[in-house]
């Protein structure tokens, strides 16, 4: 197939309007306030990460989720503390969604000894087994297969834990995606696959290289799964879809595949200016920013501006404290590069 337009000159994909009925979704107000706080945490954390990158304190690469917070928040809020998450390299939000404290996450981005992984993982491999975050994976699609394993394990051990695995739209074109979906369907595994369709891979539109309109949802029927597309910029919509897929999985009903449509406000990573996006598209999606929309919804539901301001200020304090914690961390000792290759804590390959 010849792509029928010049690079970056594809048709703008504009967001759908907010579903006016979503305000009536049966979600307790307390849960909604949690969703608001989670989104604030993710947004303010990512902005700080970006600032620290500009100050040359964040080393290596990092991939931000600004604009995509409603998905991680909605899914994370629907999970139980003992459930498992498999995140992507764009995984700061996936990680924060499980209650992992900001300080160690930020310190990991700075490569400090008080980082979540003591400097051995970095931005793309955030993990907190304590909080059910079973790793963030940077080889596209691998985590979908690994998630089948933790789901299989829960089924084998007879617990009712479920597993959530995130992926980008680009991951739907790699073999691991298809192997994982079939495997999960065949063994009726308690796993929920969540595709964050932000319309782009790195610097190329997903629509230019995919045989179907909805990269995840239009493949679901091949594995006997329902076609699920949700507004990924509406935390309530995501929360409802995730809750129903999770309870199905918990009750032995097998896997689900959710495609959540969204947009990243920034570039793919670090300093990518995102120039490959057509005129009008970014502006339209900035207008559909999930956080001001949710703020407005909570006001309509009777929450006071003062209460929402308070949440924002609390989160700002949390980010500030995390920054102090991270900047205050010592660099790792060089000899720790030689630990934890093996279960005995060492790296020796000979006797």
């Amino acid at each position: 197939m010849q792509i029928p337009h010049e690079y970056g000159a594809h048709e703008a994909r504009l967001p759908e309007p907010v579903d006016p009925n979503m305000i009536n979704a049966p979600i307790p107000l307390g849960t909604r306030l949690d969703l608001y706080r989670l989104q604030q945490q993710m947004r303010q954390f990512e902005k700080r990460a970006y600032d620290l990158f500009l100050q040359n304190l964040v080393k290596g690469t990092s991939h931000l989720s600004i604009g995509m917070e409603a998905i991680a928040a909605g899914v994370g809020q629907a999970m139980r503390a003992d459930d498992y998450t498999f995140a992507t390299y764009r995984g700061h939000a996936h990680t924060l969604a499980r209650g992992v404290p900001m300080g160690p996450v930020l310190a990991e981005l700075l490569g400090r000894s008080n980082g979540l992984l003591a400097g051995k993982g970095g931005s793309m491999h955030l993990t907190s087994v304590e909080r059910g975050v079973m790793g963030s994976y940077a080889i596209i699609g691998a985590q979908l297969c690994i998630a089948c394993g933790s789901a299989w394990s829960a089924q084998f051990r007879g617990t009712d834990q479920i597993t959530v695995a995130f992926m980008g739209d680009g991951a739907t074109n790699i073999g691991a995606f298809h192997e994982a979906l079939n495997f999960a369907a065949v063994f009726r595994l308690p796993v929920v696959f969540v595709c964050e369709n932000n319309l782009y891979m790195e610097y190329t539109s997903i629509f230019d290289v995919t045989a179907v309109e909805h990269p995840a949802a239009d493949r679901a029927s091949a594995y006997g799964l329902d076609r699920i597309v949700v507004d990924g910029n509406d935390a309530d919509a995501v929360y409802m879809a995730a809750s129903s897929a999770i309870s199905k999985a918990r009750q032995g009903g097998g896997p689900s595949l959710i495609e959540a449509t969204t947009y990243r406000h920034g570039g793919h990573s670090r300093a990518d200016p995102g120039k490959y996006r057509p005129d009008g598209e970014v502006a339209a999606w900035l207008d559909r920013d999930p956080i001001p929309m949710y703020h407005q919804r909570l006001l309509t539901l009777g929450v006071s501006e003062a209460d929402l301001d308070q949440v924002q200020r609390d989160v700002a304090d949390e980010v500030e404290a995390a920054t102090v914690f991270a900047k205050g961390g010592a660099p790792p000792q060089a000899d720790t590069a030689l630990t934890d290759v093996w279960a005995d804590g060492g790296s020796s390959w000979r006797n």
Binding site: K120, H125, G135, Y137, A142, C145, N182, F183, D340, N351
Partner: protein, 325 residues
């Protein structure tokens, strides 16, 4: 004590672990109902049932991904990759995921899993079903690499692999399946990273692995007839590598030969030779010599395959020529 084939020893060893530990389970393509394409898992489904002995789709990435996820969450999976050549299809899982997850999570995660796979040539299967790829695995930090040559070692080293808290690649040699050997009765658990001196001789040290071990032993018998007494070491594991056994033998004999089925470049023998060169150079009385498959893919015809994989005759000739006998 019972005499078992190498093939039977595989099922016997797996059964020992399935009986002992309820978190052990085994899966792969055609391994349950059919008992494995090499008939090396016969009887397991009947004894342990479909929850613990499972046929999978032809999805090598999903097989190893599932093994990893299960190992991270409290189970001890044994996954089969039918032919080791197919590891190339799921090498991401082995190299980027399984081998690295403990390190990159600063030790938060353990992956106690075993990947069993049919390895090696001699079956006239051609270039995509005959390779010896244990040296691929050896090159990756975080993987233990085991390749037994006898039925007893299959049982003992498999038990050690299943009980190890690290990921282990367990290479079963296809040309050894029909060979027989005594397997002691009762629970059998060996130690990873220990080589075995299978023949003592003062004149040279021949280090071999898997199918090359019986060939090295046979060559040593022929050499004895020509007045050369060779020590033969069955390496058994590439990682951890039993350098002590190698170094102490070479210190006594002064001559080192490696017999490797892998193609020449970067075979495991290159590492052995370099360790000997660094650490017991002054004990050497001559060049260290690697006897390997030449750097070619494996051909199919019997005459061609036999011409490239190190044979008893070639080992005898190389050693004899080098020692000037």
């Amino acid at each position: 004590m019972a005499e078992l084939t190498y093939r039977e020893a595989i099922a016997y060893g797996i059964a020992q672990e399935l009986r002992r530990d309820p978190t052990v389970f085994i899966f792969g393509e055609d391994i349950a109902g059919a008992g494995g394409v090499f008939k090396s898992t016969v009887g397991l489904l009947e004894e342990f049932g479909p929850k613990r002995v499972i046929d999978t789709p032809i999805s090598e990435q999903a097989i190893l991904g599932a093994a990893m996820g299960a190992a991270m969450t409290g189970l001890r999976p044994i996954a089969e990759i039918m032919f080791s050549d197919f590891l190339a299809v799921c090498w991401d899982m082995v190299v980027n995921e399984i081998a690295k997850i403990r390190y990159m999570t600063n030790g938060q995660v353990s992956v106690p899993l075993v990947i069993r796979t049919g390895n090696g040539g001699g079956s006239r299967f051609g270039a995509q079903h005959s390779q010896s790829v244990e040296n691929w695995a050896m090159a990756v930090p975080g993987l233990k690499v085991v390749a037994p040559s006898t039925p007893a070692d299959v049982v003992g080293l498999l038990a050690a692999s299943v009980r190890d808290d690290n990921p282990v690649l367990f290479f079963e040699h296809k040309s050894l399946f029909a060979t027989k050997g005594e397997v002691p009765s009762g629970e059998l658990v060996d130690t990873l990273g220990t080589a075995k001196v299978v023949r003592h001789g003062k004149d040279c040290t021949i280090v071999a692995l898997a199918l090359m071990v019986p060939r090295a032993i046979a060559a040593a018998e022929v050499l004895a007839g020509r007045g050369i007494e060779a020590t033969v070491i069955d390496l058994r594991c590439l990682v951890p590598l039993d350098t002590q056994t190698i170094l102490s033998s070479v210190s006594e004999t002064g001559h080192l030969f490696t017999v490797e089925e892998n193609p020449r470049l970067c075979g495991w023998g290159a590492e052995v030779v370099s360790i000997v060169a660094e650490e017991c150079f002054w004990a050497l009385d001559g060049p260290s010599i690697r006897i390997t498959t030449p750097h070619v893919p494996l051909p199919s015809a019997d005459v061609l395959e036999d011409a490239v994989i190190p044979s008893v005759e070639r080992i005898v000739n190389v050693v004899a020529k080098s020692l000037d006998a």
